[in-house]
Each structure stands twice: as C-alpha cells, then as structure tokens.
C-alpha cells in the first residue's frame, strides 16, 4: 500500500477541474495509455492573458490524478510566464509530498503544462513526442532532454531516482549506463555553472586583496596547518599573488606542488582565473 498524504487522497477522490474546454487556447497531451499514465491539459486565457479556465483528463493511478488536479489549482489565475515557473516539486509540495516512486506523476503534470503553453505559443496542435534518436529509454520512450531536465530540477544523483521521476530505466534496464552518463554530465555542468559567476565578478584592487585573504583563511590555511605548515600573504601586484610559506611548509619538498595545485587552484576558483601565485624570495 502506498503511503499517500491526505491531500493526495482528497484530490484523487474529488479531483478539481476535470473535463474539457471547448475551443481552448492551449492543449498539452503527455504520457500514453501503453505506459500506464497519460494527461490531457487544456486552458483558456482571459483578456489580461491570465489562465481563467483550466481542465484536465487523466488516465493513471491515484497520484497521477491528484497531481493533475493539483496542477490545475496551481496554474489558475496565473499568466503563462508565471505558470511556466511551476516545477514538478511545486506540484508534489502542494500535495504534501508524493512517494518517491510516484514522483514521475508530478513530472507528467509539469510536462503537460509545458506542452500546453508551447501549443498556445506556436498555435499548432501539440505533437506527440518524436520517437527519434534522442530516446534513451526505449521501453518508456523517454528522451535525453526529459532526463536532463528532471536531473537538473530535482537534483537527482542515481539511476533509481531518475526512474522514479521519469520512468526511464524502469523496463529492460539496458539504458542504465546511458542514464548514469547523463546524470554525471548534468551534475558536472551544474557544478561548473555554479562556480562561474564568482569568477566573473569585477573587483577593485582592495576587494580582490580582501577576497584573496578570505580565501586563504577559509580554504587553504586550515589544511596546511593540519600538516604543521602555514602560509602568509605578502603582496598582491596586479594578478601576481606573492605568498610566503611558513612552518613545515617552508622546508617541505612538496611546497612547490602545494603552491601550484592547492593555493593557486583555490585562488583561481574563488577569486579570479588570471591569478598567478609565486613564493616570496626575499
């Protein structure tokens, strides 16, 4: 038995906004009868471009029906730009959470919304997802893009999580290596992207020196001290950072290595890509 929240059961037993809209502005259809769940979402906009009417039809389990119902309640009264920001996590949270293995129901809701908005903007009927070379999981027809999106938005780290959120990998399992590769790639790119903005900041010389000082204190000195060594900032001349190695580090044969691999790398990561670190010769 699934551990559904009271809110899931409420929306399953008495779903809101079931039905169709005659002449809707946007229609999104995702999922399939073959795969076990499918959702048709339609909306109509008012004069100000807000969603004034929204209806759904769902084939699927209790959490699929509840997620669809929750989605319609979430988008009501929103502009398309606002509605677009709704994530599958928002749907799950609205319902007080979903069992992990049922998270794909919330993803289906988010996908239907995206398809309906896309349909409105392009003015063409929503096309079935093309089953082309992009498909990673053949069993459930899940594309690389869909997996990427789920990994990124939900911070997924394992194949099992990807299966829970997208169904991908839940059939014959031959795509598991491909899914792992996507998870690794997306998370690598994400880690890089998170660091980049810090490097790009323009700084005055004083700000730069402060940031170098802080980075030395926080990221470098503690680990050097653990080995009985220390480091001191002597001068900053443009992009050249002059430091002095102290304690065990002064005699350490690894000092040069530490300087390049640890000190310079950390300062480049947290301050600026152009920094060079040299040891004080005086």
């Amino acid at each position: 038995m699934w551990d559904y929240t009271g809110k899931v059961m409420d929306h399953f037993k008495s779903p809101k906004n079931v039905g169709v809209i005659k002449e809707p502005d946007g229609v999104g259809e995702v999922g399939s009868l073959a795969c076990g769940d499918a959702l048709r979402l339609m909306f109509k906009l008012d004069d100000e471009g807000r969603i004034e009417n929204v209806k759904f039809q769902t084939f699927g389990c209790a959490s699929a029906i509840a997620s669809s119902s929750a989605l319609t309640e979430l988008v009501k009264g929103k502009t398309l730009d606002e509605a677009e920001k709704i994530t599958n996590q928002d749907i799950a949270e609205y319902l007080g959470g979903l069992p992990e293995q049922k998270m794909h129901c919330s993803v289906m809701g988010r996908d239907a919304l995206a398809a309906a908005i896309d349909n409105y903007r392009k003015g063409t009927p929503s096309e079935p997802t093309k089953v082309d070379s992009d498909v990673i999981c053949n069993c459930f027809g899940v594309t690389e893009k869909e997996i990427e999106k789920a990994v990124l938005e939900n911070n997924l780290n394992t194949i099992e999580e990807v299966t829970n959120y997208t169904k991908a990998g839940g059939g014959c399992t031959t795509c598991h290596e491909d899914i792992k590769a996507i998870i690794d790639r997306v998370n690598r790119e994400k880690a890089l992207a998170e660091k980049t903005p810090k490097k790009k900041k323009r700084m005055t010389n004083i700000q730069k020196i402060q940031l170098i000082q802080e980075t030395l204190e926080r990221e470098i000195r503690p680990s050097l001290k653990k080995d009985g060594g220390d480091i001191e900032l002597v001068d900053v001349d443009g992009d050249q950072v002059v430091v002095s190695m102290r304690g065990a580090c002064a005699q350490c044969r690894m000092a040069e290595f530490t300087l390049a691999q640890v000190v310079e790398a950390k300062l480049r990561e947290f301050v600026s890509d152009d920094l060079r670190v040299v040891e004080d010769e005086s």
Binding site: W2, M9, F12, K13, P15, V18, V20, V27, G28, E29, V30, G31, S32, L33, A34, C35, G36, D37, A38, L39, R40, Q57, T58, F59, G60, C61, A62, A64, I65, Q101, K102, A115, P125, S126, E127, P128, T129, V131, V135, N138, C139, F140, G141, T163, K167, G170, G171, C172
Partner: protein
C-alpha cells in the same frame, strides 16, 4: 462492510487452525528432536500434521518436507534437484507466467550458465505444449510448471505435462500453491517429482509450507545443518505453524467439494454481475480455479480502481504497473498478449470459503459507479472522444 477478495495473496487463518496451534506456544514447547517427553509429545503432533498434509496430496507422509513457505519450497525443489545432478545436464525449462518464486530462480540459474526455455501462453492463458515437446531433450535437467496461475487462476494440464517431462527423463516440479485445497491432487497417480504448497494460501499461517518429494528423487538440501525433515531441511521445526498447516489441510480436504461449489457460484455471480453492469469489462483467462476472477476494465487504471474499492471496504489486487512500484504491468498479462488498453486496468478478485453472497453483491452494486467515475476522468474513454491524438505511442514494455 469489509469484503476480503484477495485470497490468492493471502488468506485468513481459519479459527480452527488458530485454536489447534495455541498449545504449541505455551505448554507444548519442547523440541521434537529431544529425547525427553517434552520433545516426544511434540514430535507426535508433527507426525500427525505430516499425515494430514500427505492425505490432502494423496502422498505418503515420508514424502512431505515442511519448509518456511512456498518460496522456500520452490527454491529447495529447483536448486536442490539441480545441485544433486552435479551439473551433468545444462538445460532448464519453465513458463513465462510463473510466480516470481520460480521465475526468479530460473532467471538466476540462467545467469549462472544454464540454458533456459520459457514456455509461452496464448491469449486465453493456455500453455503452448508443442513448445514444451519441441524443447525437451536429453540435456533437460528440470522442468517447472505451476499447477494454476496465481494472477488469472488458469489451470494447466499437469498430468499431461508431467508425463511428457518424465518421458524425456527430466525432473518435474510443480508449484501448486494456488491449486492446493481447490483442486483434487493425487500424487499416487501423477508422475510429479516435486510439488510446492504454501500454508497461508490455505487458511494456515504465513511462514510455513511444504515440499512434496517423491521417494527416490535426488535432492540436495537448501538449508544445511541438523537432521530435521529426514535431512532435507535443517532447522528446528516451526511446530505451531506445522500443526496449523496440518489442521488447514484436514479442513481443506473435508470442505473441498462443497466449498468449491459454493465459492464457484459466488465467483460466477461476481463475474456475471461485473460483465453485465460495467463498461469495457473483459475477463482474462479461461479454465480457471473456482475462486479466481481476473477482469480488465478498458481505459482506466488498476490502482485507482483498487483505492476506490478500498474506500468501500473491498480488498482486491491488480496487475497494473502502478500498484507494485514496478513500472510495467503484470508479466502474466503481457505474456498472454492482453492489449495495453486492458493490461493496466486489470483487477483480480480471489474468493475463499469465508465469502458470502451479500459481500459479492456489495461489489456488484458499487463497481459500475467506480468504472464510470474513472472513465469520466480518462482522456481515452469513448465518451470523451477516445482520442489518442497527441499522446506518444512509444512504450515497449
């Protein structure tokens, strides 16, 4: 009203069985292997239970090995028989619709290097016996075919199959967990080497089962240790449950014919009632156990049906993907080629002698409204245009 119609999953322990078991939790606690009277009197009760189970199967008491349940019996039978053959034969065969306790073992053995054949079934759930015949060879070590399917209730022609397998010189095992107590079984007449039964499907408690081992069948025990169960299954006997299984076997034998008539007529009433009153209803499987009805409802999904039934106090199960946590619908329905419009909406009602007409009518009275309600929500229902237009067709499960 609480209506339990999930007896193929597990059944209520009969009150007579519970009563019979009680003394073995308190004053009769001796170890049957002990030499003193505490043990001796308990040993006598195990012997009596063994006789009762043997009687139900038309077997000799010394051919009954008590185990920890159906899965253990299946594992012991298949792996034990293969190990005793010391790898001389490398081909094994089972069906596409076995219970996971057998299917999982065969898939495990395939990974270890055995060559596996799986007998297909047709749309009605019948086995392809030509496939069996054509794939039997002198290299075939063991064949395992269930007596009746747990999901659909379809009964397989075990006597015919056993004769074919024995003629080819292979060991034959049947998982009779669902058939026991519902169909007459006479091991004196059947050339079956190994047969599995489970307590809790038979109104005995969970955690106890038995394996019939025909005299002369070579079997390496799965659980090695003490000399209990004639050296075929080590471990101090689960005395209360074994006594309970004995009592349950006695009750099953006594009531089989009469109960089956009544249970069958209740099942037929349910079947008729649902077919006549619910939209898009189709029965899965022919020639079934008298207690089982597997019925699919078009364009709606099983978990939703089950939860709505549960709201009304009705317990059943489904072959739908969503109920198990798996993403694929039942392997049994897929093997039968049940179209995907029906596979996700399958419901299994499995009755027992504790059900009555009032309960069945409660289901018949409420099911049509549940189906209508879910059809109203479904984008595929004919009343909603039945359009498949924008949905992806991909799904190869």
């Amino acid at each position: 009203m609480n209506v339990y119609l999930d007896n193929n999953a597990t059944s209520m322990t009969a009150p007579e069985v519970v009563e019979e078991m009680m003394p073995f939790f308190s004053q009769m606690y001796g170890n049957p292997s002990s030499i003193h009277h505490f043990g001796g009197q308990v040993g006598a009760h195990i012997a009596k239970a063994r006789e009762k189970v043997a009687a139900l199967l038309g077997a000799r008491p010394d051919e009954i090995v008590f185990t920890g349940g159906g899965s253990e019996s299946d594992n012991t039978a298949i792996r034990g028989a293969l190990e005793a053959m010391k790898g001389k034969k490398r081909h094994i065969m089972t069906t596409r619709v076995e219970h996971p306790a057998v299917r999982g073992v065969f898939h495990h053995l395939e990974k270890q290097g055995y060559r596996l054949s799986e007998i297909p079934v047709d749309r009605d759930g019948y086995l392809n016996l030509d496939y069996l015949e054509n794939n039997l060879s002198p290299d075939t070590a063991i064949v395992s075919v269930m007596w009746a399917n747990n999901e659909t209730g379809v009964i397989f022609p075990i006597e015919k199959i056993a004769k074919m397998v024995k003629a080819a010189g292979a060991v034959f095992h049947t998982d009779a967990v669902q058939a026991t107590g519902k169909l007459p079984i006479d091991m004196g007449r059947l050339p079956v080497d190994l047969l599995t039964i489970s307590g809790h499907k038979l109104h005995a408690p969970k955690g106890v089962g038995a394996l019939y081992v025909r005299k002369g069948t070579k079997l390496t025990p799965l659980i090695i240790g003490g000399h209990q169960e004639s050296g075929k299954r080590a471990g101090t006997e689960n005395v209360p449950s074994i006594v309970g299984l004995g009592k349950a076997a006695e009750l099953a034998m006594r009531d089989m014919e009469e109960e089956n008539k009544r249970v069958r007529s209740l099942r037929d009433r349910l079947e008729r009632g649902l077919l006549d009153n619910c939209k898009g209803a189709v029965v899965n499987g022919k020639n079934r156990l008298p207690n089982t009805l597997n019925i699919s409802f078009e364009y709606i999904e099983g978990e939703s049906i089950l939860l709505m039934l549960d709201e009304l106090g009705i317990a059943a199960s489904s072959g739908s993907a969503c109920t198990s946590g798996a993403l694929e619908p039942s392997h049994v329905l897929r093997a039968m080629g049940v179209p995907f419009t029906l596979a996700h909406g399958s419901i299994r009602f499995s009755l027992s002698r504790y059900n009555n007409e009032k309960e069945i009518d409660h289901v018949i009275d409420n099911m049509p409204a549940i189906v209508d309600r879910l059809l109203e929500i479904s984008p595929f229902a004919e009343q909603n245009g039945g359009s498949f237009g924008g949905f992806k067709s991909a799904c190869n499960v």
